[in-house]
Symmetry: D2
């Protein structure tokens, strides 16, 4: 064959299997989204349209890749947990990483106009990704606790910051100065006393991030979507009614559906109600 004398170059492709029987977390981050959010007039401190778009994209990714058992998103980042037994692409690192990153990106652009009907994309957004290998359940729990604690910290800061700027008429420099070194309680106090905002009453999507979870339905389940959701949402106070229809799939006799929640995942309740997330 004409190409055969060059084909040796394939020998430079080094195999990159990920360690078997370990959990894989794929985390995607918006690339230069500070600029992207400015250019597309995202509402500060949280743009609900942008967050819902991210959630929808994440749900699509989990619908396409069944071995993702959990997603957690905040701001312009999303983490996805692949079950430890996954054999996706024979656990080839680059193949899994790029396929997930690419499909996520594609969905983001594809679905954009659904959430921003009046704001055409000015340029193509992109995401970077990484896969981290974790050996056991405890560390996975800590990983997701880490992300949700980060959500809380960032959102509290940003909420006070933008209140100072938007309602308090401080410059951004002044607002940063006001907040410098303040502890959490002080930030709550500023919000409450100066702006009449009770932080704990704010949208849970902002405070808790988004938890995308594949729920298993019992084989003989004849429940409707709404009922099912109520049944399954143990440990979550605000299961969201999404406009798009639930993704209901058959797997042998089990059905699963993908739900978007905004609940605590640091405590045990969420996990105890869904032992299948970490056991597979």
């Amino acid at each position: 064959m004409a190409g055969s004398k060059f084909a040796y170059v394939k020998g430079f492709e080094i195999p990159d299997p990920l360690l078997p029987e370990t959990f894989l977390v794929c985390r995607l981050d918006g690339h230069a989204f500070h600029r992207f959010s400015d250019q597309h007039d995202f509402v500060k401190p949280n743009d609900e349209r942008a967050l819902k778009l991210m959630d929808h994209v994440a749900k699509n990714l989990m619908s396409e890749y069944k071995d993702i058992v959990l997603g957690f998103g905040e701001s312009d980042e999303f983490s996805f947990l692949l079950k430890k037994s996954t054999k996706l692409y024979n656990r080839r690192h680059a193949k899994i990483l790029t396929t997930l990153t690419s499909y996520f990106t594609s969905c983001y652009v594809f679905l954009w106009s659904q959430y921003f009907p009046d704001t055409p994309l000015r340029y193509p957004p992109s995401f970077d990704g990484r896969i981290v290998v974790y050996p056991n359940e405890r560390i996975i729990r800590d990983y997701f606790s880490w992300r949700q604690a980060d959500t809380h910290i960032n959102n509290l800061y940003n909420t006070v910051f933008w209140a100072l700027v938007q309602q308090g008429k401080q410059s951004t420099t002044e607002a940063h100065a006001t907040l410098k070194g303040t502890v959490s309680a002080t930030k709550h106090e500023i919000l409450h006393s100066r702006f009449g905002i009770n932080y704990n009453h704010l949208n849970e999507r902002f405070r808790k991030g988004s938890v995308i979870v594949r729920e298993e339905l019992s084989p003989d389940s004849s429940l409707t979507h709404t009922e099912t959701t109520k049944t399954l949402a143990d440990g979550c106070s605000d299961v969201e009614a999404t406009n798009d229809p639930p993704v209901v799939k058959k797997k042998s006799t089990f059905k699963t559906m993908i739900n978007i929640l905004h609940c605590d995942i640091i405590g045990d309740e969420f996990w105890n109600a869904r032992p299948y997330i970490l056991s597979q």
Copy 2:
């Protein structure tokens, strides 16, 4: 900080620097594009709209990432060469790989309607990617020869195959059987005698693939785009006049532009005319 007791999970992120002073080739491939091309009615054996879209996307990627000095595309795949001195993202493997894959994908969806105005995307397309490290110029030459030889082999086969099916009224099974074991000369002969097609007169884009190259203009160049292109296109017989304006950038006193060519890159002429591709 609230999150600090969980932050140890970051310690599981293993550094992944790529070997310094080596060439990096990033190759992207369409994911399940056989189905994608069917669902979007791509013309067989080559859909010029789809190929031009790929070229445009590749050009955008090279415009955004200056360290890419060469691109080569065929069908639903594209290879990009990063200069060996690149310090992009400190040569972190996953960061480079995912950023390029994501931006490429994003541009593909973003630009789709420009090339398929009457064919809305039915679902989000995606690409997988890999980075291969190559130690020297000779192997890089062989890498690109490998891809262009592959273009030739595939295109010749596909051209005869679809002529047998579309004009010869063979079933796809019959067409495969007709071609089984035939050498290149036989395929040329079938095309010529049965369908009056001189393979060598077919569109060079189909026969040679697309070569996207960042050309350096001399500092005092006052040439117009068209003239410049003619001057620079040594070794290529059909520099393409693109509709979108050339990307002309300043780098110190040098200007560069990104051109799309469909020329031979197996022989020396292309490379001798552009020593800067491999020397950086």
Copy 3:
């Protein structure tokens, strides 16, 4: 500094940390020991001197590297388990691997004459090594079961094989032919009926391999070495009285000693009696 313009070459040293909180197994194998054992007149099928030398070397390695919590040896190979919390050399792969391999080799040559006083080394023996990362306790159990099952299979085969050759006067070719396709029971039967050997009465060192274990003594222990050993040897039928004094170390108030056992490690008894091996 004179050397500074060359120091950039250090930048090609790629960091190689092993995944945190995973068990590390370092397995060493004799290099070309078939020839080595011939050249040094090892007794077939098992040379007790050679096996005791290996055990002594392994014990020395574990005495020097405290994070090794278990060793298992058979023939010319030894596996060492590093506790999952080990921070040895910051878990740098090559550093750990080469240091253990080198020290093991060095001890082997250093101690040779103690076990082969009348057989000078004819040339320097060497070992290769590898480190394998395992995520959890269950797989570590299976790893050591794998090695001990291998010991059994090899030793049974070799025992019959050499009986056929040495006592049965078969050629090695004939002996292989006799054994071809035989199951375990047949091999036992040949040993018993033709050579009067009850396999289960053979030296446990040969049948079970060597288990080197760091035993923890209770803080207030005033037991003598022999008594302690008896107490600790739960699950093992033949704790060996070694000539060299036990290695007794203080760690806070705990004392540990390294014992050489030849017991079953496939069942639960060994592990249940020593929970600290897998828990650290």
Copy 4:
């Protein structure tokens, strides 16, 4: 087979091929040799017996592993260059690294008494090792320049330091203080004016380190060892007459021998006289 249900643990052994067509440098370092040299009464600043032992070991390693084309040693470290085309152990990282480290260590202990007949080894010495991948000739030149520049810097410092201590009766603290911040010329001056030592007349082994090189003899060579050495030693002023016989091997019609030199390898002369080192 009895072991088969456990054999899955082999699946955790991740392949580790080194990039093809790149130079491999394996560098070995004595482990805790500061203590080792104290315990074995090494002469300061250089112990010729210890250095000759290292050279002999290196020569043995190169005699055993033909793909090593160059060695460079100083103090307790040695670097070995494997030719870029090497297929040794299919370029498996851990296999090459541990085999070389183990054999080097083994030879060191094996040959010890030949160089230290009156100083028995008090404990087993060990070495750590690493393999670094380098893409081209220029960087290999710089690598060896880096090591030889280091030899010079260290040796000049140590020579003055020990002169101050041994002849100048300074304490080690005082000697370090005397040298702090001094440039090279000052150190030469101290040696000359205070101790009558012309640094450039000192043993080249100390000043240049040891260069172990496999020399190719022409096919029809009928030269004696001594003559050959003279012929081949271009670029080196002090080819050493070794007591052990030269290693002369046949490779097709070529013969090679391994020589120990103490010459400059920073300039071009050494390399120009031996183009085969970097060309293979």
